[in-house]
């Protein structure tokens, strides 16, 4: 029987994902505070690798991992050639355009500046709108950009909206909804079809 490899995003999302395997044949025992990045399941059914969220999709597309658990935000940004077989239902949040209350998203003959962690996604959203945009890629704390005059609006993922509120920003438009997804490499899907179907059943989805 083939051993599967699954790439999991380090951090909150990955922890939640790992919980789904608890008390199943795929369970792994992790040592507290370990920095180990690869874990083999005791039944030799599955390997877990822990990578940065933005790398999960790459690992799966390149076939190093057969499967991956990652947020829809990363999938939308990367737009890679993979199957996205399950909506796992946790890690729910939303892509939004946010800015100061009176900010207009339609500016005739003028460029709208947008700060974001997700430049490709923003480009695809604004592509068909006829609005000229300048996208400024940031690594984090995107909310700071309008406050400091770096951009007029931001596109970011929002769970509760607290960070926005605390910084005097409001949601100007709601975009795609986000949650954790199970993704699969297309070749692995064919070669390890029954094993992957079994994992789908274990994880269940929404």
């Amino acid at each position: 029987m083939d051993i599967l490899t699954i790439a999991i995003a380090k951090g909150r999302l990955g922890k939640k994902g790992l919980e789904l395997f608890k008390d199943t044949e795929y369970e792994i025992i992790m040592e507290e505070d370990s920095r180990k990045l690869v874990y083999n399941n005791a039944n030799k059914k599955i390997n877990f690798i822990f990578v940065k969220p933005c790398d999960v999709v790459t690992y799966v597309e390149k076939g190093v991992a057969d499967l991956g658990i990652v947020g829809k935000d990363t999938i939308l940004e990367d737009n890679k050639d993979i199957y996205e077989v399950l909506d796992l239902g946790f890690g729910k949040c939303r892509f939004v355009v946010a800015g100061f209350e009176d900010q207009n998203l339609v500016k005739k003959n003028e460029v709208l500046t947008i700060a974001t962690n997700y430049p490709s996604y923003v480009e695809s959203v604004f592509k068909d709108r006829g609005q000229l945009v300048e996208i400024i890629k940031l690594g984090g704390a995107v909310e700071l950009a309008p406050l400091m005059g770096l951009s007029e609006v931001i596109v970011d993922i929002v769970e509760t909206g607290n960070t926005l509120r605390d910084n005097g920003l409001v949601v100007l438009e709601e975009l795609d909804t986000i949650s954790a997804r199970l993704i699969v490499n297309k070749a692995s899907y064919r070669f390890k079809y029954s094993e992957i179907k079994k994992i789908e059943k274990v994880l269940g989805g929404v």
Partner: protein, 316 residues
């Protein structure tokens, strides 16, 4: 592939040419003639007839006449426009090519990709289906590694969508979910449209052993188009059984083609340990209409960079 050592590079090039020659001989034995695609294409013409193509990925060149040209990003459409300007649809044509395509990749790099492929035009449909699919199988088996040919037909789903009156937006969304094999989001979507008791709810189960899937799919047949799709797959199945290669084929009626031009049998070849498809192809009769004559047309394309890499690994 990039090399630091010229001897190593010559060695690999020689090996690669050997594979190409082997494949060219095979295609010629099967009655196919070589055709040379043009290097440059008119940018406007190409974008007009290939609206799904990402135009930013094409490599542009400015001609002396101040027109914009592109280095060919695709070979099939390139040779079709060559052929149809000089051919009326008869007699049947069988051609193969051995060429490169050019694309802009991220960070401004221009990527060259070696491709070989065959196109069979104007031939009897069931005869050509069998011939082309069998050739694809033989290319895959020559890799010397375990492989799977994934096969489907666009006409099965198309036929079903013709039966129900769905607005285009919903249809696109459903097709998109099917193409991602996203079973649970598909279920939710179908429920909202009250389509949960249709074939769409079962379509992702229609993958696997050819015989089992065909038997299952027959039960949901609703019109001539769907029946035609299954009949043509049935004929190919008989051929595979006859040649004793049926075990290497997986039927997948939920296959949604990457390119919009296919109608009929479609297939992709995967090799164990390689993350992307080695070859892909299918029938595209309807697409030929845009060149003035509608003829039967089927073919496939092979990624020669991947084939070379797999064969070199196998040698070592």
């Amino acid at each position: 592939m990039q090399f630091r050592n010229i001897l190593e590079e010559l060695e690999v090039t020689k090996f690669k040419k050997g594979i190409e020659r082997e494949m060219e001989n095979f295609f010629e034995d099967m009655g196919f003639s070589i055709i040379e695609p043009r290097v440059f294409e008119d940018y406007d013409d190409f974008i007009r007839s290939n609206s799904r193509w990402d135009s930013s990925k094409t490599v542009k060149v400015l001609g002396g006449d101040s027109r914009i040209y592109i280095l060919r990003p695709d070979i099939t459409t390139n040779i079709l426009s060559q052929i149809f300007s000089k051919w009326e649809g008869e007699p049947p044509l069988k051609v193969y090519y051995n060429s490169k395509v050019y694309r802009n990749e991220s960070r401004g790099k221009i990527l060259q990709n070696y491709q070989m492929g065959v196109e069979s035009l104007g031939d009897d449909i069931s005869k050509a289906d069998g011939e082309i699919v069998e050739m694809a199988m033989s290319v895959m088996s020559n890799l010397g590694e375990p492989y799977i040919l994934e096969m489907g037909s666009t006409k099965y789903l198309d036929g079903f969508f013709r039966e129900i009156n769905l607005n285009l937006q919903d249809e696109i969304e459903i097709r998109n979910l099917i193409s991602k094999k996203n079973s649970d989001s598909l279920k939710t979507k179908l429920k909202s449209l009250k389509l949960e008791n249709t074939i769409l709810d079962k379509i992702l189960d229609m993958q696997g052993d050819m015989k089992e899937v065909l038997d299952m799919a027959r039960a949901y047949e609703m019109n001539e188009e769907m029946k035609g799709a299954l009949d043509s797959l049935e004929r190919v199945k008989e051929l595979f059984i006859h040649k004793d290669i049926i075990g290497k084929v997986k039927l997948d009626l939920s296959m949604v083609p990457d390119l919009g031009y296919y109608d009929g049998i479609i297939f992709k070849g995967y090799c164990l340990g390689v993350p992307t498809k080695i070859l892909s192809g299918g029938r595209y009769d309807k697409w030929t209409k845009k060149y003035g004559v509608k003829v039967a047309a089927i073919g496939f394309m092979i990624d020669m960079d991947l084939v070379t890499r797999i064969r070199i690994k196998g040698e070592k």
